[in-house]
């Protein structure tokens, strides 16, 4: 009986724009049009691998989701590292802004010269068709290049290692009686120091090599990312509108909604809203509305029902228990 009267007293309230205004009104255009983000698909999921691309999307207020183990401490889930997975809405926003392109699939070898172009020596004017997948003679060249690089690295690291050892000995030379022995060791070190191969520090690259260390390569990335997955249009319109108001958005599956809405960068701010996207003409069951609103109040967030209107705007509605006793 009480439940029934309770639900009868529920009023829906249109959120005034002031409340959903957001931190700052941004234009639809991204701040940095020159940077084209390189996307690559893994099992049809759009992933970003290069740090500069991650920085670029973050500067456009797109958060994404980090999926990989963090190199510094790989065996924990609290902080993750590259790659960054984009939400479908983030991917679509980038392709709409023509700010995304497909990353090429492998290392590039010049077809005509058969030669691997080191970073900085990219014949960028020739365009992407110049390059082909690593195959045939190209691979041998790449292997040779890799071996040479590793050898060079070993030689340089030997020098550093020797310097390290010497400076450690020199630091130890404080008292006069040990000096003699230490000096002897220092000379011996100079003559027969060998840097063990196993001590060679090697880097396990996160992003595929090739374009990574080559700033000019960005010029290659033509904004050619296709629009994928046109369903979920309602979600996209809501996403675009909220982002346009300066909010940061992440997915809200564990809260039973579409997006978690943050007033600023999620690294520093708590989310205020749980956005639930509904087409304007979509019927909803009152039980679902109540369930999601209850959940929202449990986690101290306001649930926003977001419906794109015909004029391109979005109507935001929240539910309030009006305490009529």
């Amino acid at each position: 009986r009480r439940d029934q009267s309770n639900s009868l007293n529920i009023l829906t309230k249109k959120e005034s724009l002031d409340q959903v205004r957001g931190p700052q009104r941004t234009t639809d255009e991204p701040p940095d049009l020159r940077h084209v983000v390189g996307l690559s698909l893994c099992d049809s999921a759009p992933l970003l691998w290069r740090v500069e691309d991650l920085r670029s999307v973050r500067s456009q207020g797109l958060v994404g989701a980090l999926l990989g183990s963090l190199p510094r401490t790989p065996r924990q889930n609290g902080r993750l590292g590259r790659p960054l997975l984009l939400l479908p809405e983030e991917e679509r926003l980038l392709s709409e802004r023509r700010a995304a392109a497909g990353l090429p699939a492998g290392n590039r070898v010049s077809l005509s010269t058969g030669r691997v172009h080191p970073p900085g020596e990219f014949p960028w004017f020739m365009g992407l068709f110049w390059w082909c997948w690593q195959d045939g003679a190209g691979v041998e060249l790449l292997v040779k290049q890799h071996e040479e690089e590793q050898q060079r690295s070993y030689e340089e690291q030997s020098v550093f290692a020797l310097e390290d050892r010497k400076s450690a000995l020199l630091r130890a030379m404080t008292s006069p009686h040990t000096d003699e022995a230490l000096r002897g060791r220092l000379e011996a070190l100079d003559q027969n120091f060998t840097f063990p191969r196993s001590a060679l520090a090697v880097q396990l690259s996160t992003a595929r090599a090739g374009l990574t260390y080559c700033p000019e390569a960005r010029a290659f990335l033509q904004a050619d990312w296709p629009m994928r997955g046109q369903n979920g249009h309602t979600r996209y319109q809501v996403f675009r509108d909220l982002r346009g108001r300066g909010f940061y958005l992440t997915s809200a599956g564990k809260f039973g909604g579409d997006f978690l809405v943050y007033p600023g960068d999620p690294l520093r701010f708590h989310a205020h809203f749980i956005a639930v996207c509904l087409a304007a003409d979509e019927h909803v069951c009152v039980l679902d509305v109540l369930a999601v609103a209850r959940l929202g109040s449990n986690v101290k967030k306001t649930v926003l029902f977001c419906s794109p209107g015909p004029g391109g705007g979005v109507l935001y509605t929240s539910l309030q228990w009006s305490g009529m006793v």
């Binding site: 893994c42 989701a65 889930n77 520090a201």
Partner: protein, 453 residues
């Protein structure tokens, strides 16, 4: 490649993660907030841009074999070999998800055509619909990072077992069908025998002997005779559960020979899932036990010294009943309960209830497995890692099913099918929401009853 000096220097960098401070609720355009955001972002980008740098001696070298969708080790495996990988044709292999995880941990360097693969190459080459999907790998990595042992679930094994045990059930039904209803009254193995009472005699239990008075000397110590607990989880390590050793011959009538009993079909038919009770439920249960009517507490039954006397008692009681309400039992439809028989309220309610309660496994064997839902991984708890054996991993802690918030919720048919495949190991649904993973499990819920005699 980055300059060697940088790589060399990275060997001695910190392994600590900067602590994140308390988040703010509202942006207030203050200098303080701006500064804190900038600092947090700086830390964030320095963490994100860091590359893995390892000593060559600490790296296990391996080769990607695309035709087999497998990674073959080229140098001896590390500590990870205890919980990952397998040997075949004298070579050590890793599954693609294991190799990718180890690459991410900085323990493994995988080469393809003599060139080292980046983490990106690993994601793009190793993850596919024919191996494991990206979402499945996310779940795998998440659990591995927490320390769990995660192995692929092989559905073929359980499916085969199911088929042959079902056949055996059919056989059992044919041969023993008519003997099944002659069961002795329920007896508690721990109940101490009453003074002067012996239910079974050591020598032949022929029909004739039933009538002879029982000698008081051949009494059994019932507390020493253990009844087999077919449903026990302890005896159910996957190899030894299928058969039950024959009972001690001295407990059997002389002419009876009992061989090894295959209990696997029986285990299939009962709910083996352990009921985990809260302390409150436990008290309720103990209370219930205390109030439950026990046939052994019946004075008249206690006075019976053998089966014959017990049967005579039953006949006597039936006669009594028939004396008064005999006509009720003579029709096609008989009363659900004989009022002369003591019964607890709860049992009576159960007897007269129209809808019987059911559990997840009931009727599950008749459900065809669905393609949409399948178990991906067997998961073993981190504290078992020390004595974990790949050859005999034992019973998993749980089995993982990977799905996403975009997909449907499994229906009862799917849940029953998975529960049957999983046996008495709980099935956990790992729901992937982009970067977030939530774990859910459907549990048989026992409704509390507040009916006491």
């Amino acid at each position: 490649m980055p300059p060697p000096s940088e790589v060399f220097a990275a060997r001695s960098r910190s392994h600590k993660i900067p602590v994140r401070g308390q988040k703010d609720f509202f942006p207030d355009d203050s200098e303080e907030q701006r500064r804190r955001l900038e600092q947090t972002l700086d830390e964030h980008w320095s963490l994100i841009s860091e590359e893995r740098v390892e000593r060559l001696g600490n790296l296990v070298k391996a080769k990607w074999i695309p035709s087999e969708q497998m990674v073959e080790l080229q140098t001896p495996a590390g500590k990870f070999w205890q919980t990952m990988g397998f040997s075949a044709d004298g070579k050590q292999h890793l599954l693609p998800e294991e190799a990718l995880y180890l690459m991410e941990c900085g323990s493994l360097q995988v080469f393809y055509r003599d060139l080292p693969l980046s983490i990106q190459d690993g994601y793009e080459k190793f993850l596919s619909s024919s191996t494991v999907s990206l979402q499945q790998y996310q779940v795998f990595g998440h659990l591995k990072r927490l320390g769990y042992v995660v192995l692929r679930f092989e559905p073929s094994h359980t499916a085969e077992q199911d088929i042959c045990t079902n056949d055996r059930i059919e056989e059992d039904k044919c041969s023993h069908g008519d003997e099944e209803d002659k069961k002795p009254p329920e007896s508690h193995p721990t109940a101490a025998p009453g003074p002067g009472r012996t239910w079974w005699v050591t020598d032949d239990l022929g029909h004739q002997l039933d009538h002879q008075p029982v000698s008081g000397c051949s009494r059994w110590n019932f507390s020493a005779i253990t009844f087999p607990d077919v449903g026990s989880t302890e005896s159910s390590t996957e190899s030894s559960s299928s058969s039950l050793l024959p009972p001690d011959p001295c407990l059997l009538p002389g002419s009876l020979a009992v061989g090894v009993c295959n209990v696997a079909p029986w285990r299939q038919r009962i709910n083996l899932r352990e009921v985990k009770m809260s302390s409150k439920e436990q008290r309720t249960e103990e209370d219930k036990q205390r109030h439950r009517w026990d046939i052994n507490k019946d004075r008249e039954v206690q006075r019976c010294r053998n089966w014959t006397e017990y049967r005579e008692l039953l006949v006597r009681r039936e006669g009594k009943r028939k004396g008064r309400l005999e006509h009720l039992w003579k029709r096609e439809v008989t009363p659900l309960h004989d009022p002369t028989q003591p019964i607890s309220t709860e049992e009576l309610l159960e007897k007269i209830s129209v809808t019987q309660s059911t559990d997840l496994l009931e009727g599950a064997s008749s459900i065809k497995g669905s393609d949409e839902w399948r178990i991906c991984f067997n998961v073993y708890q981190p504290d078992t890692v020390a004595d974990f054996k790949k050859s005999n991993p034992g019973k998993p802690y749980s089995r993982m099913c990977v799905c996403s918030f975009d997909g449907p919720v499994p229906d009862l048919r799917a849940i029953k099918g998975l529960a049957l495949q999983s046996g008495d190991v709980p099935v956990v649904f790992a729901v992937v929401d982009y970067g977030d993973i939530s774990f859910y499990t459907f549990k048989d819920f026992q409704l509390p009853t507040d009916v006491y005699p």
